[in-house]
């Protein structure tokens, strides 16, 4: 396929993906009273002002960055050594562990919300950000494990052997040789976990009560009143709130693709 043919194919996709997004961005400048019209009569910034009023959204973005970052860090810190162990150190039942981990993460969250609430309350982690990070990390652990195991498996076996021959301990080889080479795969797993934690709503709403600790999905869910559904303000808020994540994704997208390449897929 030539680049020109590639772009010809890509254009309908871009239209399909970006036009609704463009409409969403346009809606954020749309006066609410005119939403039923095909086009607004004028553009306004009052929705953005309403979205940012009180600083709640900004604080929510900060909380979300913190929680998502911590979740990604924790998940990677737990998954990377484990994946290395399964891929290179020949742990028995490694595949069974991966399959069991995958199964656990597939459990419907709604059923686990109540037991987790009770458990978090017992250890006094309710309404705290770490209390949110722990469930997030454990439910995204399987995805990270899968991707990282594939990444490490795809690295040439000689790399590890050569490092050991050079006198490294296994952990040393892991830290100094394998991890840097597997960085793209790690970045991929990190991004996926980050986005998952960023968009998670159910646990955030159940476990957090103080306004100061809200994350972005909770803040978005609290817009509007009992019947009111101010979509225009929601559009403004979502556009604002999505910018940090898009920035993170753009920063990582090159690494993501080469990371998935590095063998996560070949398993």
């Amino acid at each position: 396929m030539s680049p020109r043919a590639a772009w010809t194919v890509a254009v309908p996709y871009l239209a399909f993906f970006l036009l609704p997004l463009g409409w969403l961005a346009l809606t954020s400048f749309w006066p609410d009273a005119e939403l039923a019209r095909p086009l607004p009569s004028h553009l306004t910034l009052e929705n953005h002002a309403a979205a940012l009023a009180g600083g709640g959204l900004a604080r929510a973005v900060a909380n979300s960055l913190l929680v998502s970052g911590a979740t990604a860090a924790l998940a990677l810190a737990l998954a990377a050594p484990a994946a290395f162990a399964v891929a290179r150190l020949g742990v028995r039942g490694g595949r069974a562990l991966l399959a069991a981990a995958l199964a656990i993460s597939m459990f419907p969250p709604i059923a686990t919300a109540a037991p987790l609430y009770v458990a978090l309350r017992a250890v006094r982690l309710l309404d705290t950000l770490p209390g949110l990070v722990l469930p997030y990390a454990s439910f995204s652990l399987p995805l990270a494990l899968w991707l990282l195991t594939g990444t490490f498996r795809a690295l040439p076996a000689e790399l590890y052997r050569a490092a050991r021959v050079d006198g490294c301990t296994p952990l040393g080889a892991f830290r100094r040789v394998l991890l840097p080479v597997a960085a793209p795969g790690v970045a991929t797993a990190g991004l996926l976990v980050f986005v998952f934690a960023w968009n998670e709503l159910l646990y955030a709403v159940t476990f957090l009560t103080s306004p100061a600790r809200r994350t972005v999905p909770v803040a978005l869910a609290l817009f509007g009143g009992e019947f009111r559904d101010p979509f225009v303000v929601l559009a403004a808020a979502s556009t604002i709130a999505t910018i940090p994540v898009v920035a993170v994704a753009v920063l990582f997208q090159r690494r993501v693709v080469s990371g998935l390449t590095a063998g996560a897929v070949k398993g």
Partner: protein
């Protein structure tokens, strides 16, 4: 991971822990109360001042925690928290249809001492009083109310219709005058709003839904009511879009001038009178029509309740907070600053309310007739399957008689009644 990246991640973890952790006292003092409520509006100042005046008077501290605005999420949070022991909050808000079930579950404190049922019935409107007093005991105190109303276009409809036949005629007349306009928009989506519309139609057809504690859904009046709703869509008096419409969808259609009639709650009025609204000044409000005359609207609104697990000392303090928040003065504050219809009859005659929220003051006759949906602990349990059957009938998937028969069977199974 490079050393710097690892250090960064450890730092992030530490920061997260540091920022998120907080000290919790082992036992909350009797002088600190937790209030969980739904945010009332964009400006928190008047409400905070209301709470602050309570704190000043009594020397107690009140911590405000928000509940999400979605009814399902709020219900889930309450059930999760109360089911886990109910010690996480003292005073909380309840939708009018949750009082019966949570009272039956034993999670609501009996407030009959501080709020005797006789006094509640005397001071508050009949509808909410009926919802909060069960078995001659008070389990919650009404905070603010809502009622289903008929909105109509005063430029297309000279006089609001009082009967269903008049409604149909008025729709046709309006459509003759303004071609392309839709007739009557209401909420037909599969959710609790549809149940409200159904019960209003049921009462309009002279039916009753409750026999003692048992839900009676399969009656001739119910079949007539559901059939009427279905025919509205089938005959084109209501646009097809009502089958997916919730409150906002109906409001937007009406506000854009695309419908002659709308069934909605009072919240829509200030939006319709917004300077940018195309129908500003052309909207009237009336009671819903019925078979032979105006019919009652469904009761909505929220009440304040106290957790039954709160220790006696805190319970007394909580009762004082509830009394303060449901006082006539507080009713006026909520009406003027947040557009919330008072639950106290006297508040509608309050000069401040008359002056600054005239629309609300004028709602008294409509609000007085508002009827609660069936007040039984089984309501919430049956509501889910009821919504499904109503939606099936309204969208033409099933005949009303069959839908109601199935709903009745489900309700009976839940209540453990053998057919």
């Amino acid at each position: 991971m490079t050393p710097s990246l690892r250090a960064l991640s450890l730092l992030a973890l530490a920061a997260a822990f540091g920022a998120g952790c907080r000290t919790r006292e082992d036992t909350r003092a009797a002088s600190r109360l937790i209030l969980r409520y739904q945010p009332l509006g964009p400006d928190p100042a008047p409400f905070r001042e209301l709470v602050a005046s309570f704190e000043r008077e009594t020397g107690m501290e009140v911590e405000l925690q928000a509940l999400p605005n979605g009814a399902d999420l709020a219900h889930q949070l309450l059930v999760t928290s109360l089911g886990a022991g109910g010690e996480d909050m003292d005073v909380f808000v309840l939708d009018v249809v949750w009082v019966a079930e949570l009272a039956r579950a034993g999670w609501l404190a009996d407030l009959s001492d501080a709020f005797p049922p006789a006094r509640v019935r005397e001071e508050f409107l009949a509808g909410p009083a009926a919802a909060v007093v069960q078995g001659d005991r008070t389990f919650a105190v009404p905070w603010y109310v809502d009622v289903g109303l008929l909105y109509y276009r005063t430029d297309l409809v000279p006089e609001p219709p009082r009967t269903y036949a008049a409604l149909a005629a008025a729709i046709r007349a309006a459509q003759a005058e303004a071609p392309g306009i839709a007739g009557y928009v209401w909420q037909g989506r599969q959710y609790e709003g549809l149940s409200c519309n159904f019960f209003e139609a049921l009462w309009g057809h002279g039916g009753e839904a409750l026999e003692g504690d048992r839900l009676r859904l399969d009656t001739p009046a119910a079949r007539a009511a559901l059939g009427w709703l279905r025919e509205l869509v089938a005959d084109g008096l209501s646009p097809r879009s009502v089958v997916t419409a919730a409150e906002e969808d109906a409001r937007r259609a009406f506000q854009e001038g695309r419908a002659a009639f709308m069934r909605n709650w009072p919240y829509a009025w200030p939006l319709l009178q917004d300077p940018a609204s195309p129908v500003r000044g052309k909207v009237g409000v009336a009671p819903l029509p019925g078979e032979t005359g105006p019919a009652p609207g469904a009761l909505g609104g929220w009440q304040l309740a106290i957790s039954s697990r709160a220790p006696p000392a805190r319970r007394a303090a909580a009762a004082r907070l509830v009394a303060h928040l449901t006082s006539a003065g507080a009713n006026a504050v909520l009406a003027i600053h947040y557009g919330r219809n008072p639950a106290r009859r006297a508040a509608y005659d309050d000069p401040r309310v008359r002056a600054e929220a005239p629309f609300i003051a004028g709602l008294l006759p409509l609000v007085e007739r508002a009827r609660p949906r069936p007040v039984t602990p089984y309501y919430m349990l049956a509501a889910d399957s009821l919504q499904g059957e109503l939606s099936a009938a309204v969208s033409g998937l099933r005949l009303p008689a069959e839908a109601l028969g199935r709903a009745q069977a489900q309700a009976d199974a839940i209540a453990g009644v053998a057919r």
